[in-house]
């Protein structure tokens, strides 16, 4: 719960523009890696159950996010469910370069 609260607080520091830019990048990454249509990628959709991501896809997602200065931990990969979850992780990553 404490962890969750911290995340929420961090989230609130991201501006709407930052969130939008991040979502745009994540959508692009998901389309390319998961071979889905852009409109299938919504904040609410589950990466595994909705977009069919498997362990190899998560490894590819991690690599793609590295290019944006974001390092996903194993815990991140385990805990993430939706695209919004992934966005939260990216937004609180210290080295992120996604809004540039």
């Amino acid at each position: 719960m404490k962890h969750k609260a911290a995340v929420t607080q961090q989230e609130s520091t991201a501006t709407e523009a930052e969130r939008e830019a991040t979502f745009g990048i994540l959508r692009e990454i998901c389309v390319s890696i998961l071979t889905v249509r852009p409109e299938e990628v919504t904040p609410e959709v589950s990466l595994r159950d909705g977009l069919g991501a498997d362990s190899l896809d998560f490894a590819e997602l991690s690599m793609a996010l590295e290019d944006h200065g974001v390092v996903l931990s194993e815990e991140d990969v385990r805990s993430v469910d939706t695209v919004a979850d992934l966005m939260d992780i990216v937004l609180r990553a210290p080295g992120r370069k996604v809004s540039a």
Binding site: G52, L56, E60
Partner: protein
């Protein structure tokens, strides 16, 4: 042939070659001696001494795979898995439990284009470049990728194996696949070979070995097995698969039979990494094994489908073996690589299909570009037009770098 083993029929074939998809197109090209060799299209070969190859044109992965599947498969695996699916479709509906299915897939180079793409993919130290493999790298380059993917796509729960014996891979795959059925480990086996190694590093490396024809001014006539003016092989790519089925199983379901796998031989030269043993001793053992395995004498063989790649030494060594085993000029010999180019790890499987089609139609296709047979070759070489052959079993040879030898004997099914 001993009676305590299951007999094996070929009930489906799938081909993706530079001269056609499927048996009909392929057979027409062989019988009309019509090669398809052209400028290398996959990359800029202007820096290479050899800039032509026998390529599979117009292969569109979306016709065979979902986008999601395709992005995880190297071109070699795509060609192989598509050929395997074609062999399965050709065989018609088969009712067998998943654990009674097997797959044996041969390849010389595996996912080599994916391998090469991982090099120089990222900025490296001192302004240079470094590799940047992604997580798909290993599953895309591994030699067993085709065997794995075929097993996944067709719900194979029995044995799945990869064979890598260079240019003998496809033939060994068929032979080992037949053995799985003979010994009772499977009832149905998808067996074949695949190769897609027309890549910058691999072509350059074969150039360095001096293995390739440099007839750049006339590439269509560059692959000329047994011809006096042959100067090396033509790089090819493609895939061939067959469906092997326990004979009684095939008979029971009323399946069309291309032929029966009567004999299989395998041996080693134990001689050199790339050069064939000029005495042909290892290859001779292989052919004799295949005949003995089939319970046949050399005189029973109606036709030989030679490995002959159009290299100086390789063709001579094989000619010597065939002369010794069958007697000079005693059996009509063809060599498909004049038409197909050298499909490396796929060639043994593709040529096994050619041998089966000879068996079916009673004709041996001519050797393309055989203008003037090498006077040192004392064989009855089929030239000019397809030649009718007498009924009887046919032999298909395959020999690989490293001295790996495979020979297969096919006969009409006497059910």
């Amino acid at each position: 042939m001993t009676s305590d083993r299951h007999r094996v029929a070929v009930t489906g074939v799938g081909l993706i070659t530079p001269v056609g998809r499927g048996a009909k197109e392929f057979w027409h090209a062989l019988c009309t001696a019509a090669p398809s060799v052209g400028p290398i299209a996959g990359f800029d070969p202007s820096w290479l001494p050899v800039r032509f190859a026998a390529q599979v044109g117009g292969f569109d992965a979306v016709e065979h795979f979902t986008a999601r599947e395709a992005k995880r498969l190297d071109r070699a695996t795509r060609l192989g898995a598509a050929a395997a699916a074609a062999a399965l479709a050709d065989a018609g509906p088969i009712d067998a439990a998943p654990e009674r299915w097997g797959v044996v897939a041969g390849t010389g180079h595996g996912g080599v284009s994916s391998f090469e793409e991982a090099f120089e993919a990222a900025p490296g130290p001192d302004g240079g470049v470094r590799p940047r493999p992604g997580p798909l790298h290993v599953p895309m380059v591994m030699a067993n990728a085709t065997a794995a993917v075929v097993s996944m796509r067709h719900r194979v729960r029995g044995p799945s194996l990869a064979i890598s014996t260079a240019c003998a891979s496809g033939a060994h795959a068929l032979g080992e696949g037949a053995r799985l059925i003979r010994e009772g480990a499977a009832d149905v086996v998808l067996a074949g070979g695949t190769e897609a190694a027309i890549t910058p590093v691999t072509v350059a490396a074969f150039c360095r070995l001096g293995a390739l024809s440099e007839r750049g001014d006339d590439p269509v006539r560059a692959s000329r097995p047994f011809d006096a003016h042959r100067d090396g092989f033509v790089m090819g790519e493609g895939a061939g698969f067959v469906l092997l089925e326990r004979l009684d199983h095939a008979v029971e379901r009323g399946a069309r039979r291309y032929g029966e796998v009567l004999g299989y031989g395998r041996s080693s030269d134990g001689y050199h990494l790339t050069a064939p043993d000029p005495s042909g001793a290892g290859a001779r053992v292989c052919v004799e094994q295949a005949l003995a395995d089939a319970g046949l004498d050399a005189a029973d063989i109606a036709h030989v489908n030679a490995h002959a790649t159009s290299t100086r030494r390789g063709d001579l060594a094989e000619a010597r073996v065939l002369g010794e085993v069958f007697g000079p000029g005693r059996v009509p010999v063809t060599a498909p690589k004049g038409v197909t180019g050298h499909l490396l790890g796929a060639s043994g499987a593709v040529e096994a299909v050619a041998a089966l089609l000879s068996l079916r139609d009673g004709i041996a296709p001519p050797i393309a570009n055989l203008d003037r047979p090498d006077p040192a070759v004392e064989l009855d070489l089929v030239r000019g037009a397809p030649r009718p052959i007498r009924g009887g079993p046919v032999l298909s040879n395959s020999f690989g770098f490293g001295g790996h030898n495979a020979a297969l004997v096919f006969g009409a099914v006497r059910a």
